[in-house]
């Protein structure tokens, strides 16, 4: 076969480019400083493993080194963007790791319905009801739909009707407040799981109406823009989305109320503006994930208590109830086991509200 000059140049180019690429990347990976954390994944990145013969023989060293090479790869986030681009645009996959983009919004495809998880949370709620609550308590529960509920029918959705039905049938001695009709997709952040506080007036009205405290919320709210916000899904799915903004609904009642944190033993404002500097700005609402908080409103003349068992969605909703109660206790049983509550919380004569998102209900193993 006649050897073409251009074939020679092609061969030289391929050979040099390949050796150059893999060698330069090797050098860059060795030389560059390791990153501590991944903002996109909200976790620490793997460090270079400690060398030991035991780890070498049991394979742990290999696993840790492999993880390290991937976590610390140079320009890692850019390479991940390339993968996302290829999967979504070339292969036209509908989701990546069950995340998809819809009208400029990133949505998690929470599917299928985990019936065992629903039964688990029902058991936990009934146990709390049985152990801590009595006739002096008016007990309610509500379910917050996740964004996938509102998305196009072409995506897979869990059976939300079955979820509600299971909970309605199995939860004992408590009233269901259905807020599904109060919400639509625009009420949620584009890049985060959570809902926007500025859109929750209708949810607050529904719940307060059903719980008979709507007439105690008379002061109007003022909407204040706080900061741009890149939610939890930013960086998980490398696509272009609309920009989120954190806004708060505030008034004199909220400004004058304080939040006591049982973990830190400190008081904070309801909207902790120091969290603007944190990795997750949604933590502005009630300072983020904590096991036990109390909102104290000294402006209420007749003491009235509300106890809320909640997940993170409650952080932005519950401040809207502040005016109606002298004391609102927020309990997140992902961070505190319910057996400790008898020493920390007085349940007598309190209104009780269980408020969980479908995401937590469908993955309730984290509840203690």
């Amino acid at each position: 076969m006649k050897f073409d000059m251009s074939d020679k140049i092609k061969n030289i180019t391929i050979s040099i480019l390949f050796i150059f690429t893999i060698s330069v990347v090797l050098i860059m990976n060795i030389v560059k400083k390791d990153n501590e954390i991944s903002i996109a994944e909200r976790r620490k990145l793997a460090k270079f493993p400690e060398l030991s013969m035991e780890k070498f023989y049991n394979g742990e060293l290999r696993e840790q080194f492999d993880k390290y090479t991937m976590d610390q790869f140079v320009f890692r986030d850019n390479f991940r963007k390339i993968k996302a681009f290829v999967e979504l645009n070339l292969f036209r996959k509908k989701d990546i790791n069950n995340l998809y983009e819809y009208n400029g919004m990133i949505i998690k495809q929470e599917y299928p319905l985990n019936e065992k998880s629903v039964e688990n949370i029902v058991d936990k709620i009934n146990t709390i009801n049985e152990n801590y609550l009595n006739e002096s308590n008016d007990v309610y529960y509500t379910i917050i739909p996740d964004k996938n509920y509102f998305a196009d029918e072409k995506y897979l959705k869990m059976d939300y009707s079955k979820l509600q039905e299971k909970m309605n049938n199995k939860l004992i001695d408590m009233k269901y407040i259905n807020i599904f009709e109060c919400l639509n997709l625009e009420d949620f952040y584009y890049t985060d799981t959570h809902w926007k506080q500025e859109n929750l007036k209708k949810v607050s009205d529904k719940i307060s109406s059903e719980m008979n405290f709507k007439d105690r919320i008379v002061t109007t709210f003022e909407e204040k823009e706080i900061t741009d916000f890149n939610g939890v899904y930013t960086g998980q799915l490398q696509v272009k989305t609309k920009q989120d903004t954190i806004k708060v609904l505030t008034n004199e009642i909220i400004k004058n109320s304080k939040v006591y944190n049982f973990e830190t033993k400190k008081y904070d404002d309801i909207y902790n503006l120091e969290k603007v500097k944190s990795g997750d700005k949604y933590d502005i609402y009630l300072s983020g994930a904590t096991p036990l908080l109390t909102i104290e409103n000294k402006s209420v003349k007749i003491p009235k208590k509300l106890i809320v068992f909640r997940d993170s969605f409650g952080s932005s909703l519950v401040p809207l109830f502040t005016e109606a109660y002298s004391e609102i206790i927020l309990i997140d049983t992902r961070y505190i086991a319910t057996k400790y509550l008898k020493d920390l919380v007085e349940f007598e004569n309190a209104d009780v509200l269980f408020i969980y998102s479908t995401l937590v209900i469908n993955n309730s193993a984290s509840l203690k």
Partner: protein
Amino acid sequence: MVFSSISFIYYFLPCVIILYYIIPKKFSNLILLISSICFYVYGEPVYIFLMISTTLVVYFCSLFIDRYRDKKIKKLIYILGLSIPIGSLFVFKYLDFITVNINTLFQTKLQVLELALPIGISFYTFQLLSYIIDVYKGNVKVQKSFIKLATYVSLFPQLIAGPIVRYQTIEEELDNREHSLENFAYGVTRFVIGLAKKVLIANSLGQFCNIFLTINEKSVIFYWIYGISYSLQIYYDFSAYSDMAIGLGRIFGFHFLENFNYPYISKSITEFWRRWHISLGSWFKDYVYIPLGGNRKGKFILLRNIFIVWLLTGIWHGANWTFITWGLMFGGLLTIEKFLIKDKLDKVPNVFRRIYVLFFIMISFIIFNSPDMNTAINHIIGLFGVNGEKLINGETIYYLRSYFIIIVAAIIGSTPLINMCVKKIKEHKNIKKIKNVMEPIFIIAMLIIVTGYLVDNSFNPFLYFRF
């Protein structure tokens, strides 16, 4: 270590290539041997000694066989040289399977050893066996250098996933191989294409198959798409590893034989096995089928030989009744083709012949991928709606839409269509020049995309900051 990993591509490979090409040629085999041992130890720190010791036994036995060619003791040493590798393969891969079945059958309580399967044992054992058999028969000269023999056995391009390289294939190249830009560039191209096949296609199809296996809401169509997808996945996975092995071999001057030749265009099962895992099929033909008499000793012996070969072929893939069934199924189909339908099959239009082949291949791979025969049967009858599932459902439509392009690309890529187009392009001088410009760009683009996929493998997000 696997080829499709950051640690191999961006840590191990550049070091080995640079070392190999800067160190004097007389140390080439030593560099490859040390690299291959490091490669193996990385994934298998304990059983490296098994591979080395088995190689040593075969090395010494072969030397003795060569030394005592005219003596009766030659046969004894030959049997020893065969028994040790076969014995170690049996103990690590098959002993527990035999034990469990004896316990089930005879209600005994024999101890199950639960030994981990050493990586690559099926491949290097067969390579050692082919070497000692060829030495015994006088087909190859005995290799007096242990380093060269060990290099052949442990050569990292083909150590863990084949192809099964016969010693005679690279006998001369162990002593004297050509290093050229053409070889190097061909090797790089072949390696990167194999990498792309594995990471972009095979792994994606694997995700789809996993979805099928874990999802509760199946449908009849979902069973069919699973069968097709798994057949494609295993082809891409296996042929990709062969591509990468051949490519890596070429980078270091070795010419391995092709292991796959578009098996899914076959018009008969007989033809399929001339195109699929060629190195395994030819190994069993040359070292089992022909020595047993092949087709030269009458019909009964032929049927026996077919049964033995396909039983062993099934068993070679794994210690499970599914693999044995898979192997025997092909034995049965080949027997039927050979004795009952050969003339009739030749008269059937090609399209129907291909449908017949693809259908049974799909069924065989459904069995192959099942953890047990009950699951295999369930999946097969699911194809025909016997499980009571709907013809199609929302989940099937969703996942079919999500993986449609990958599946179609995989189907097209499994045919010679792309290769034919490339050949046509090469015939036109001007287009060939453009191709020569595009090819390096394509190779690096593939490498970059594959790197994106590999780096994303450690993606593990949390809702809340974990520190």
